[in-house]
Symmetry: C2
Subunit: 314 residues, 2 copies
């Protein structure tokens, strides 16, 4: 273990968008607002709230405007929305201009096949669209993150060259992104690969925030976090309760759980700014609202209690 | 990521003892034999089969003799039994002498409180017993592993000093153990701690095999494996399907799943000798026999398929 692990990390909570979008039932707006409030109260400082998508395609997020209208800005909290296209940006712009959201998250895939299956475009076609959209988002005052799906392997095309991912990332930086998220969308990454990837990424993309977005599909999500951390990566995305994350195949685990991530990091002495008990309470609330057991480990095991001499957690 | 990761590791499969013992129902002996056969067929070279315990206390393992009578020795496979006391050793001795088992696993806890709750003795009292038992086991021809529970933290006593764990380990080595297993019995370890622990352990215990036994209680089991691996640890214990592991609190995850461990290691280029598809088939068989969903991630997600260009796993 190198002595050079970051002292602190930034975590973007993606559950209110990625998690709620993947639930079979539409979560009532009031419940969403309650959960988002609990997440912000726990100390999370980056929260992806929703996305402006077609309500007939994704009814789970049809209340995007209601969510944004109701949420008051919070000092120190950057709220973001996922922006899939120019129409989505048009809907988001008034909220950017009024200071209700601070960040926009834009995405494409590292491979043509995955990108076509997801948005019916080649990578080049997506990049051509993103150039204008990201430029306009910056004019509206949004800080922009570009997220590259299947950065560590594609279920359709297999291996993905890091150099290709960095090339796409550099284009996004050229469009105005200040942060690039690298998604292990179907959980194909391993820690050795992740370590090598980020060792290279720092050289290839020197002046931009590098964010790791791992899935726990094969149980290796936190091991990949450790490998990234050892390369100095200090920005992560995760989802409370282990919600969402495009479970592939059906039933598989998606995103790493924010509370499992926070527990590991805080136990290692890496500061997250998050109050773990409060975060677990938010996941417990979500579990109750959704009426099914969520995948988070901390929800069952609870935080490590080093002071325990009475065995009260047993 | 250092370049010095081990090229290969040894894995002891503990499911047939640790897993079957913790099932509410007694698994029929024929089913146990079938599963053990599948595990050995998958390439696992160390398998803990059962334990000689009081059948009124642990009826799940009451068929220990039947299991050992039926299992033929296999070239290259070390079968072991967990030996809790002198009486257990007496029952195991004929199987050691006839070459049906090759190893004995002996255990105690790193703290007095945990040891008392588990076996109603202080650590010193357990050590006094173990000296004679391990000596006799060696005379019967068994290679001996001493397992130290709660090596990374105790739910009753909190922090555990590594120096105390190494002191207990050195005593066990003095009794004749050729291998020491360090158990994270309730999943309190974090990767930084694990890295520091094994960096010290190599100096404190230079001439003995060091084996890491992690639990996935808080989702960090494979991250702890990575941290140990980076310190040169090349021996691990795990349980197929994620069976067993003394789930604390109830419902929590216990042992790391052998197939999740094998997947991560093989993807990293660390050889395990295990055929992953065959191992997953054994876990699927156990899942069917037990009639409930097991915690293993690979059981749902399947192995990573880098050659996939048709998306057949989607």
């Amino acid at each position: 273990m190198p002595q050079s692990l970051p002292d602190s990390v930034r975590i973007r909570e993606v559950g209110p968008r990625d998690g709620f979008q993947n639930e079979p039932e539409v979560i009532p707006t009031a419940e969403k607002l309650r959960l988002i409030g609990m997440l912000a109260d726990s100390g999370l400082r980056r929260i992806e709230l929703t996305s402006f998508v077609r309500p007939d395609v994704i009814p789970q997020l049809a209340d995007a405007s209601e969510v944004l209208d109701a949420l008051e800005p919070r000092d120190g909290v950057a709220y973001s929305v996922l922006i899939p296209n120019r129409k989505g940006l048009e809907n988001a712009t008034p909220y950017a201009e009024s200071g209700r959201i601070q960040e926009g998250n834009f995405f494409l895939s590292a491979t043509d096949t995955h990108n076509r299956k997801n948005v019916n475009r080649t990578v080049e076609e997506s990049l051509a669209d993103l150039e204008g959209t990201i430029g306009a988002a910056r004019e509206a005052g949004l800080r922009c993150e570009g997220v590259i799906s299947v950065s560590f392997g594609c279920p359709y095309e297999g291996r993905v060259e890091p150099s290709r991912v960095f090339e796409i990332a550099a284009r996004l930086v050229g469009f105005g992104c200040e942060e690039i998220g690298f998604g292990d969308t179907t959980g194909m990454a391993n820690p050795r690969q992740v370590g090598e990837f980020f060792a290279e990424a720092r050289g290839a993309l020197p002046s931009v925030e590098l964010t790791a977005h791992f899935h726990n599909t094969r149980g290796q999500g936190l091991a990949n976090v450790l490998a990234a951390l050892e390369q100095g990566v200090d920005s992560f995305e995760s989802s409370f309760g282990e919600l969402g994350g495009c479970p592939v195949p059906p039933g598989a685990t998606g995103n790493i759980a924010t509370e499992d991530l926070v527990s590991m990091l805080e136990e290692m002495g890496v500061s997250t700014g998050v109050e773990l008990e409060a975060l677990v309470a938010a996941s417990a609330e979500a579990q109750g609202a959704l009426g099914r057991a969520l995948g988070s480990h901390l929800l069952t095991a609870g935080p490590v209690d080093w002071s325990n001499r009475a065995g009260s957690r047993l």
